[in-house]
């Protein structure tokens, strides 16, 4: 029998805020987390701005033992462990120091590439013939599953503990994978989320592709402009988001607070066919993914109040809106917003950070305003009414919200959340 799945805890480390309360405040106010990065200037990047969470040494020390901190040089692990641990605690779960793992709880925590700075350290030592100087932690800090392994050890999870990777789709996909595991009765609880390292070695490839904005180095807060006619490319970001998914009955039985229900969703790929490529989405697949998610969730398109889009702030934002319009076939288009105006594009972490922002809107009854979108792209206003792209935060109850992520490799994920 299919189990219902709810969200009972969340954690977030975003460029514009750390922790749920700060994050809610930041997104209500449209606070930007995009800053000028001297390092990127020194390295002659075209785009010298980025979204990097401001995590203090004191904060890090709250989550890692002194031993774990020795030689730790993997920002993705730092962000992921903070967000994941916060979600676990927010759900009212304890961190038990028992011999027996918690067989009912698992983790699916994704990433794009992990521990890039640690890997660079290792490469320099190896090239200098000093491989044995690497010490013991370079493997766990650079393996993709390093983040789920770290969290698994801290929390003592005994169910499936794994890592997924699907570019910008990673976080939303992780949520749906965890959803399926609980819905099918294989786990009672799944901590899902994703993280992304910061720094020039992660962002350089995008700069080389010339898909990042280069004319906003002096005004970082204005650089990320989803749906704007002056959108000039996405601003690279980093961070982590985490959500505690739980079987509804189990959550109820232990009296847990419930943020919302996950109705389900869909993942697919355009196969890099029909206009899709390594870097561009096949529109037919995007439309199919949205339609499949709606059908699976047993709702109708008319019931959707808000879309939290992928919307990265490139010229392709208009095409995404067009795809939404074709998929929903709804005269009354829902409200639509993009978090990336405030955080930039946090790459593998974007899906989970945006899922946290999505769930907060349902739980706290608001629709955050789109920043840097005063000049709405006319191709978008030709498709939907301007009022559906709020520029200021609206205090409005949200019943059903659709969250989408579309990634490199022509991969898609759409998740549907409902107030409970």
């Amino acid at each position: 029998m299919k189990k219902r799945v709810v969200i009972t805890g969340m954690g977030v480390v975003a460029p514009n805020a750390i922790g749920l309360a700060n994050f809610e405040d930041a997104i209500r106010k449209g606070k930007s987390g995009i800053r000028f990065e001297e390092e990127l200037e020194r390295l002659k990047f075209s785009c010298q701005i980025a979204g990097k969470p401001q995590v203090s040494e004191e904060k890090i020390a709250e989550y890692f033992t002194p031993l774990q901190l020795r030689g730790l040089n993997s920002s993705g692990i730092v962000y992921g462990v903070i967000a994941g641990t916060d979600a676990w605690r927010d759900a009212g779960l304890k961190i038990e120091e028992t011999e027996q793992p918690d067989w009912d709880s698992g983790i699916i925590f994704g990433t794009g590439i992990l521990g890039v700075d640690k890997f660079r350290e290792a490469i320099h030592l190896i090239d200098a013939g000093k491989t044995r100087r690497l010490g013991s932690t370079s493997v766990m800090q650079t393996m993709a599953s390093g983040i789920s392994a770290y969290l698994g050890g801290i929390l003592g999870c005994g169910n499936q503990v794994t890592t997924n990777s699907s570019a910008c789709t990673t976080g939303t996909e992780a949520l749906l994978m965890g959803f399926e595991r609980i819905a099918s009765g294989k786990a009672k609880r799944m901590l899902v989320g994703s993280c992304s390292d910061h720094g020039p070695y992660v962002w350089g490839g995008f700069d080389a592709m010339r898909i990042l904005p280069s004319k906003y180095n002096e005004k970082p807060a204005e650089a990320s402009r989803p749906m704007s006619s002056s959108a000039a490319g996405f601003v690279p970001g980093s961070g982590a988001g985490a959500l505690m998914l739980e079987d509804y009955e189990t959550a109820q039985a232990r009296g847990a607070k419930i943020y919302c229900e996950v109705l389900g969703g869909a993942t697919n790929s355009g196969g890099q066919r029909g206009g899709g490529s390594m870097t561009a989405a096949n529109s037919e697949a995007v439309i199919k993914c949205i339609k499949d998610a709606i059908q699976f969730s047993g709702i109708s398109a008319e019931e959707i109040d808000v879309i939290n889009g992928h919307l990265t702030a490139t010229t392709r934002d208009a095409l995404e809106i067009e795809n939404w319009k074709k998929a929903l076939k709804n005269d009354d288009f829902p409200y639509i917003n993009s978090l990336k105006g405030m955080t930039g594009h946090c790459l593998a972490a974007s899906g989970s950070i945006e899922c946290v922002a999505s769930v907060l809107q349902i739980a706290k009854k608001f629709i955050f305003g789109n920043t840097n979108c005063e000049d709405l792209n006319p191709e978008i206003s030709a498709l939907i009414s301007e009022e559906k792209v709020p520029r200021k935060t609206l205090e409005k109850p949200v019943n059903i919200l659709v969250k989408a992520s579309f990634g490199f490799g022509d991969v898609n994920a759409v998740a549907i959340f409902k107030k409970i």
Binding site: P66, L67, R70, G71, R132, R133, G135, S136, T137
Partner: protein
């Protein structure tokens, strides 16, 4: 270098990796890194690196595999220092 100085340095070096703190209270040549101090076996390679840095010596893989107790470590350090 006196034996006691070496043992004191070793105790300091190994401390951050020790999971069984009681083992440190009775730190002597017979103390076994894994059994008495519960140093994670992966972390033993970090202990070796710290020892190398502290005493400015190099410990080859063969010597490392024979380093089970604090006494073994002390002997290896003394030997390396003498031949340096």
């Amino acid at each position: 270098m006196k034996e006691k100085e070496i043992l004191d340095s070793l105790k300091k070096i190994v401390s951050p990796y020790v999971q069984r703190k009681e083992g440190l209270e009775n730190f002597n040549e017979k103390t076994d890194f894994i059994k008495d101090l519960e140093v994670n076996s992966a972390n033993l390679v970090d202990v070796i690196l710290d020892v190398e840095d502290e005493f400015d010596i190099e410990i080859d893989n063969d010597s490392m595999s024979g380093m089970l107790t604090v006494g073994d470590a002390k002997n290896i350090i003394e030997r390396k220092l003498a031949s340096a």
